[in-house]
């Protein structure tokens, strides 16, 4: 069983590889063809913004070719009316539907691929792969809006994006509207007779969130006790919980943020060994949420809190 003509097959393989490589490259470059954008009302430029990280970013002119590498920032930009100035968003930015999703990655950013869009502002959540250094070398202003720890962080980021894109007024009114909606939701959940316990599931290997996270803060505002907080000592933010701990904690509400990644629902949760004994499973208070909403810190957090608040009210009514 010897391989015949090893030299010839190696050459063929190399040629095939080269062809495949070049075609991928061509397709990628075609994707980079820029599209035109309409202008938004003028604002007071240049502006200086102090990032949550402490660095100051100066934007000389109102940007019209914004590239967003952060799904949360994409949602914020479109919510404040800056969507028409956004020419490209990363592969994870799937909301709103009209966001110009591309192959760009926010996790492993490719500086040249971003530069191909000739952006006049780049927004990202983290500085990976020398992203900031690369953009600065190309004289493109880059604004980092990292994962928010609470609603106030989120409000600040919306206002900063408003300032950076010339939509301060819309950003302010969005923040005001979010504040009043969140306030109404918190008020609508009357002080319960007993503390309700919640388990928030990130995936079906039982990763969860503590109150130190953005989503954990939402539960705290709604007066829920988060069972994952018991694991804070070992893992402050996203612990992987032991199933026997979850079962014996007996949460009143289970929120599944793994409906898209892992197709989880009440039935699959009830089928797990031992989980039928949990109060939330018995009473059917296992609610699926959009994985994306629960992992971002954009304006849709209000929808998430509304869904949770409605469950809390149901549980209280039943009690």
């Amino acid at each position: 069983m010897r391989m015949h003509q090893p030299g010839a097959s190696a050459k063929l393989a190399f040629r095939l590889f080269a062809v495949a490589f070049v075609s991928v490259f061509l397709v990628a470059s075609c994707g980079g063809t820029p599209t035109s954008s309409t202008s938004a009302p003028p604002s007071h430029f240049p502006v200086s913004i102090t990032e949550p990280g402490g660095a100051t970013v100066t934007i000389a002119h109102q940007p019209h070719r914004v590239v967003s590498l952060s799904p949360s920032a994409t949602e914020m930009l479109f919510a404040i009316g800056a969507g028409s100035q956004v020419i490209a968003v990363d592969d994870q930015s799937n909301f709103p539907a009209n966001a110009p999703t591309t192959k760009l990655s926010g996790f492993t950013p490719n500086i040249e691929a971003i530069a191909a869009y000739t952006p006049d502002l780049v927004v990202a959540a983290e500085d990976t792969g020398s992203l900031v250094h690369g953009m600065q070398a190309l004289n493109v202003p880059i604004l980092l809006e990292p994962a928010a720890k609470n609603l106030d962080d989120s409000y600040l980021q919306i206002k900063q994006l408003g300032l950076a894109t010339g939509h301060s007024a819309q950003a302010d009114s969005l923040v005001a509207s979010m504040r009043s909606q969140v306030g109404a939701l918190v008020a609508s959940v009357s002080k319960p007779a007993r503390q309700l316990k919640v388990y928030h599931e990130l995936d079906n290997t039982f990763y969860s969130v503590t109150s130190a996270t953005f989503i954990g803060q939402a539960y705290k505002l709604l007066g829920l006790t988060n069972i994952a907080d018991a694991a804070t000592a070992a893992t402050p933010d996203y612990p992987q919980l032991s199933p026997e701990f979850i079962v014996s904690s007996n949460p009143d509400l289970i929120v599944l943020a793994d409906t898209k990644c892992c197709q989880q629902d009440l039935n699959s949760v009830a089928a797990r060994p031992g989980w039928r004994a949990i109060a939330a499973v018995k009473s059917g208070h296992v609610v699926g949420v959009d994985d994306d909403i629960a992992s971002r810190w954009g304006p849709r957090i209000v929808d998430f809190m509304r869904a949770v608040a409605s469950q809390v009210k149901q549980i209280e009514r039943a009690a």
């Binding site: 290997t205 000592a233 070992a234 893992t235 919980l241 032991s242 026997e244 079962v247 060994p273 031992g274």
Partner: protein
């Protein structure tokens, strides 16, 4: 299939092997004792405290708090049993690979089983989440198929290159296949970032699983694999004499190698499918036995089953208590203990060789 072929190939015991040591009954008893103790620890410790009395009551079917009974029967007992199966299989497969390849660094993943399983699981998690085939979750199925495909690929490649004249060609083929599968796995993981956490938790290994279903799923493969390797323990001893000498004794070296590799792969693929790629058990357990008790495979194979099972049950007890109520991936614990031990093994084999 494997078992019947395995039995038929065992020849009459060659006279040259008559002097090899048998398994001392004291060590067999010690192995059983260690397994029982570790299982007791595994059943008694966890993030939720359940007393000895309640556990004994539950085992004999007595009156137990329903919450505790639920945790014991649905979660802890199947987890301990799974630990026994996974640990025993990985250790015995590692020992078998080390014997077949006469390579102290061989582990059950040498021919690409881990890379294949990781790729299969990653593809299933990324592209077919929540799917089942015949009521079995697709992730373990894909991992099982991936592990088998990688080893079969390595075997075919090794055979086409060296005709199995030496084990080295097979090992190098395994390395190449593993690297190739790993690159595809990394690519898929890179492009499917939404599933990264699941993939990560799969690769580091865990016994947090579907309970008794997983135990039943792998039990036939584990038994078949262990039985086939156990039957060949004398021939593994014969292989230590060197390939040419063994061939002159009339032992079909290549056939023995194929059967043992197939058996070890079957067991490894099954346990990897439900527990992920748990590192180092297949290396540290057989080597500890060689260093402490004896090098004969009549000692190493049965004791690897017992001590491998005991070690993994203990490691899993650590995985669910060290950072309770959170979990540590079990691979973190086995490798944390395994790496220093591995260094000790290398030092001692160098000392022996000098």
């Amino acid at each position: 299939m494997t078992a019947t072929v395995a039995v038929s190939v065992v020849p009459e015991r060659p006279a040259a092997l008559a002097g090899m040591p048998r398994l001392p009954w004291t060590w067999a008893a010690a192995g059983l004792f260690a397994l029982v103790i570790c299982c007791a620890v595994g059943v008694l410790v966890g993030p939720i405290h359940i007393g000895v009395g309640a556990v004994l009551q539950a085992l004999v079917g007595g009156q137990v708090d329903p919450g505790q009974a639920n945790i014991l029967w649905s979660l802890r007992f199947p987890r301990v049993v799974l630990g026994v199966l996974v640990g025993g299989t990985l250790a015995v497969s590692g020992a078998a690979y080390q014997g077949v390849f006469r390579n102290p660094l061989a582990d059950p993943y040498l021919l690409g089983a881990a890379a294949g399983a990781n790729l299969g699981a990653t593809l299933a998690i990324a592209f077919a989440p929540g799917t089942s085939i015949l009521a079995v979750n697709i992730v373990p199925l894909a991992a099982f198929v991936g592990a088998g495909a990688a080893v079969a690929g390595a075997y075919a490649l090794g055979r086409s290159v060296t005709g199995l004249r030496s084990a080295t060609g097979l090992i190098l083929a395994g390395v190449a296949i593993a690297a190739f599968f790993n690159s595809i796995q990394s690519y898929v993981q890179q492009t499917q970032t939404a599933s990264i956490r699941q993939v990560y938790s799969w690769i580091l290994g865990r016994l947090v699983t579907a309970g008794w279903d997983d135990v039943l799923l792998i039990l036939p493969y584990v038994i078949l694999s262990a039985a086939a390797i156990f039957v060949h323990r004398r021939l593994l001893d014969a292989l230590t004499l060197g390939e040419d000498e063994v061939t002159s004794l009339g032992i079909p070296v290549r056939r023995v190698r194929l059967i043992v590799v197939v058996a070890a792969t079957l067991g490894t693929a099954a346990v990897v499918a439900v527990a992920g790629t748990i590192a180092f058990v297949g290396i540290i357990v057989p080597h500890a036995i060689r260093l402490l008790i004896g090098r004969s495979y009549r000692v190493v194979i049965p004791l690897s089953m017992l001590f491998g099972a005991a070690f993994l049950v203990l490691a899993d007890a650590g995985a669910r208590t060290v950072v309770a109520p959170a979990e540590l991936p079990i691979g973190v614990i086995t490798a944390f203990l395994g790496a220093p031990f591995f260094i000790a093994v290398m030092r001692s084999t160098r000392a022996a060789a000098l």
